[in-house]
């Protein structure tokens, strides 16, 4: 088998092809097996890229944040299986009524306090008098840390545990992000590499198609689609992935693939008898991979935001996500609750924002690895 046919596709360094050629040239006579050279190259380029990435403190913070979210996603099923009673803590169908001690108005001074007093007498019996302490079961309930069923972040208007919902939704967000990002990259690299490699009418056709997709406003289109069909998380991920993969991302990756197509080792691979598909998938695609990783990161950010927005409008067929949590708060009239019912608005809103933030800054860190000019001097 020729050397060119065995180029690895796991390389992260942009200069993969060149590196391998150089490495092979310097040790042309040594009979080291090629996979070992490949492994060594991979390790070296990974170490080099990691060292560059590590310089970017923000990128590391992003990785740490993603790790925290990952832990959140993992512990939810464990907690459900061990500590949490599903009847109470299930994120969708759980219910807990929290008893809270409330003091009836101390004295009647104005019409409002008069009204409150009358209401209390109606609810707790005519014997209730001013200044009494009564027990009410109210939803949504503020956080409780003790008791039989502690709710770290309180409960929502339907008596469901917010913390459990938050953890459960993390998993959904990761799933969606992964599906969307992988689909985007899969389609974009294939489309980009094929358009760049063949050129001509294939290129023209694919690029006009990309133009058409760019013309489609993503959010309104998804709103229409999710109104027309019952869309779940995986489908949404695929949809976002396909739209992005055939649209803008494909155009960027095509220009990158064009730059690689003119390199000497592509010609070498062709001369050595590599077929079209072989050259595309073993030489061009591996070399645009670093850039595709970047787009995966930004793709995750976008997918998370879109899902949350659609859920916020109540358009998706999903039982529980961060967007649904905010939607619940909104539809139950807690839209402007602010700090009074902070546990309804802030945990979910911040979770969406922070996870998107984390992926975005990791993507920026990768950008600095790929693009030396952005690095701190």
């Amino acid at each position: 088998m020729s050397i060119n046919e065995r180029t690895t596709k796991h390389e992260v360094s942009r200069a993969t092809g060149d590196d391998l050629a150089r490495e092979l040239a310097t040790r042309a006579l040594a009979d080291t097996p090629i996979w070992r050279i490949r492994l060594r190259l991979f390790r070296r380029s990974f170490a080099r890229n990691w060292a560059l990435f590590r310089d970017n403190k923000l990128g590391l913070v992003g990785l740490a944040m993603i790790a925290i979210f990952a832990v959140m996603a993992i512990i939810h099923p464990i907690l459900m299986a061990t500590v949490w009673d599903p009847a109470i803590y299930d994120p969708v169908v759980g219910y807990d009524s929290v008893a809270v001690e409330v003091t009836v108005v101390e004295e009647v001074t104005d019409p409002i306090s008069e009204m409150e007093y009358q209401e209390a007498r109606l609810r707790f019996g005519p014997l209730t008098s001013l200044g009494d302490t009564v027990t009410v079961r109210l939803q949504p309930a503020p956080p409780t840390l003790a008791g039989d069923y502690p709710h770290f972040l309180g409960t929502d208007p339907q008596g469901r545990d917010i913390f459990s919902q938050l953890l459960y939704s993390t998993r959904a967000a990761f799933l969606l992000g992964a599906v969307a990002a992988l689909t985007t990259v899969l389609f974009a690299t294939t489309v980009g590499a094929i358009a760049a490699y063949y050129g001509g009418w294939i290129d023209g056709g694919l690029m006009r198609f990309a133009d058409l997709i760019l013309l489609m406003p993503l959010l309104p289109l998804l709103i229409v689609l999710s109104a027309a069909f019952s869309i779940n998380m995986v489908m949404l991920g695929l949809l976002i992935g396909v739209l992005n993969g055939f649209g803008g991302t494909a155009i960027v990756l095509k220009s990158q693939a064009l730059a690689i197509k003119v390199k000497a080792y592509i010609d070498a691979a062709r001369v050595a008898g590599g077929g079209d598909w072989h050259v595309i998938f073993r030489h061009i695609v591996p070399n645009v991979l670093p850039l595709t990783f970047l787009f995966m990161m930004f793709g995750v950010t976008e997918a998370i935001a879109i899902e949350a927005t659609l859920s916020f409008f109540g358009l998706l067929n999903v039982p529980m996500t961060w967007g649904v949590m905010i939607n619940t708060a909104q539809t139950q009239g807690y839209l402007l609750s602010g700090t009074d019912f902070w546990w309804l608005l802030f945990p979910a809103g911040l979770a969406v924002s922070f996870l998107a933030f984390a992926f975005f800054i990791v993507g920026r860190g990768m950008d600095e690895v790929i693009n030396p000019r952005l690095r701190a001097r």
């Binding site: 013309l215 489609m216 406003p217 229409v224 069909f229 949350a308 927005t309 933030f357």
Partner: protein, 385 residues
């Protein structure tokens, strides 16, 4: 140039027809139709439903409906709204479009102006705590869950601090018995703002041509800004619509600021990385070797070239105002295109939904064209051929 434009227009036309067809088709996939809304009401006889379908042309085969729609569309007839019967779709959209554009133009232009300045400065003086802080802030603004952010802004400034009205376009109590129509006042505001902008732009061009040295040019520019903005404010101060205009302006502040903040973060980050790329170019070193002042290197050489991608993103951002408008307009109850679109989808009002989307398509196409033309103006290497 003319040949290029002609070819582009033809391409755009074809693309638009395909776009419209795809949109139309996707919307047909929505389950049920507007007559379903009648089912819930027992007082309406079943025949009324069939009547309605026949009257709206919904009983026709799909391909007939399609050709009717497309031919009518290019005659300028976008049909009649189902949900706001008998209002014409074009009339509804025509009313809403300026509101959306106004909201977005104000927010985006301001955000881009500020974002470009900030991005330029932090890229130039690298490595400080300010840069780090601004980057984190910028990334947060860019990735924050926008509906949530808008709600928090609304709560903080509208509800908690009470500085601005909570949503809506006008204060109904103030306008009761007002001698003017809200839309007339609004259109006059837009008109005067646009005139001011154009005047200022023309003055700047004149200053650039005739000013002899940079200090004078700077002073003159400040003077021009003062005169035009002052003139605008004076006009409205003397106008009988003063209180009403102020009410509309007051209602605009919060959505504009919220929208602007998000666009600001993105522009700043983009400008910064674009600047960093240009600062690494050889001609920057040449400019330094030439003994130019730092300001000239930064503004005339680095920022001027870093402007290209930022300009493109500005134009394209403006092209997608309706997509972006959905969230802002829903949360701030701003009666623009986005809100109309969302409501239309909710009640299966297909003509209105397609109408709104088609305007999105037109804006996007025009945006791409403007971006291309701007590119050739800004970068002499790119020639239209």
């Amino acid at each position: 140039m003319i040949k290029f434009l002609l070819r582009r227009f033809i391409q755009m036309g074809i693309l638009f027809v395909i776009f419209l067809s795809v949109i139309w088709l996707i919307l047909q996939l929505m389950p049920g139709d507007v007559s379903d809304t009648l089912i819930g009401d027992p007082s309406i006889p079943l025949t009324a439903r069939a009547d309605l379908r026949a009257r709206l042309g919904l009983d026709q085969p799909l391909h007939i409906q399609y050709f009717t729609y497309i031919t009518n569309f290019f005659r300028g007839d976008l049909g009649v709204s189902f949900s706001r019967y008998p209002q014409e779709v074009s009339a509804i959209l025509w009313n809403a479009l300026p509101r959306t554009l106004y909201l977005f133009l104000t927010a985006t232009l301001f955000a881009f102006w500020l974002g470009f300045k900030t991005g330029k400065l932090i890229a130039w003086g690298r490595g400080g705590k300010t840069e780090q802080g601004l980057i984190v802030g910028g990334v947060f603004l860019q990735t924050v869950f926008y509906p949530w952010f808008a709600i928090v802004m609304l709560w903080l400034f509208g509800f908690f601090l009470g500085w601005f009205p909570i949503g809506r376009f006008i204060d109904a109590r103030l306008w009761q018995g007002a001698p003017f129509l809200a839309n007339d006042v609004f259109e006059l505001i837009v008109l005067t703002v646009v005139i001011t902008g154009v005047l200022y732009g023309l003055m700047r061009l004149a200053i650039k041509r005739f000013a002899t040295n940079p200090v004078v040019e700077h002073r003159l520019r400040q003077g021009a800004a003062l005169v035009t903005v002052g003139g605008l404010l004076l006009y409205w101060y003397l106008s009988p619509m003063r209180t009403y205009a102020a009410d509309i302006a007051h209602h605009t502040v919060l959505p504009v600021v919220t929208l602007g903040l998000v666009a600001f973060g993105a522009t700043m980050l983009l400008t910064r990385s674009s600047m960093l790329e240009t600062l690494g170019e050889d001609y920057i070193l040449t400019a330094r070797a030439k003994g130019l002042h730092d300001r000239a290197i930064r503004d005339r050489h680095a920022a001027r070239n870093a402007m290209l991608p930022v300009t493109t993103s500005l134009v394209l951002a403006l092209a997608f105002v309706i997509g972006g408008g959905i969230i802002t307009e829903t949360i701030f109850s701003w009666p623009g295109m986005g809100l109309i679109f969302l409501q239309a989808i909710g009640v299966n009002d297909l003509p209105l939904a397609i109408g709104a989307l088609s305007i999105t398509g037109v804006l996007a196409l025009v945006g791409h064209l403007v971006a291309d033309i701007l590119y050739t103006v800004l970068d002499p290497r790119i020639r239209i051929s």
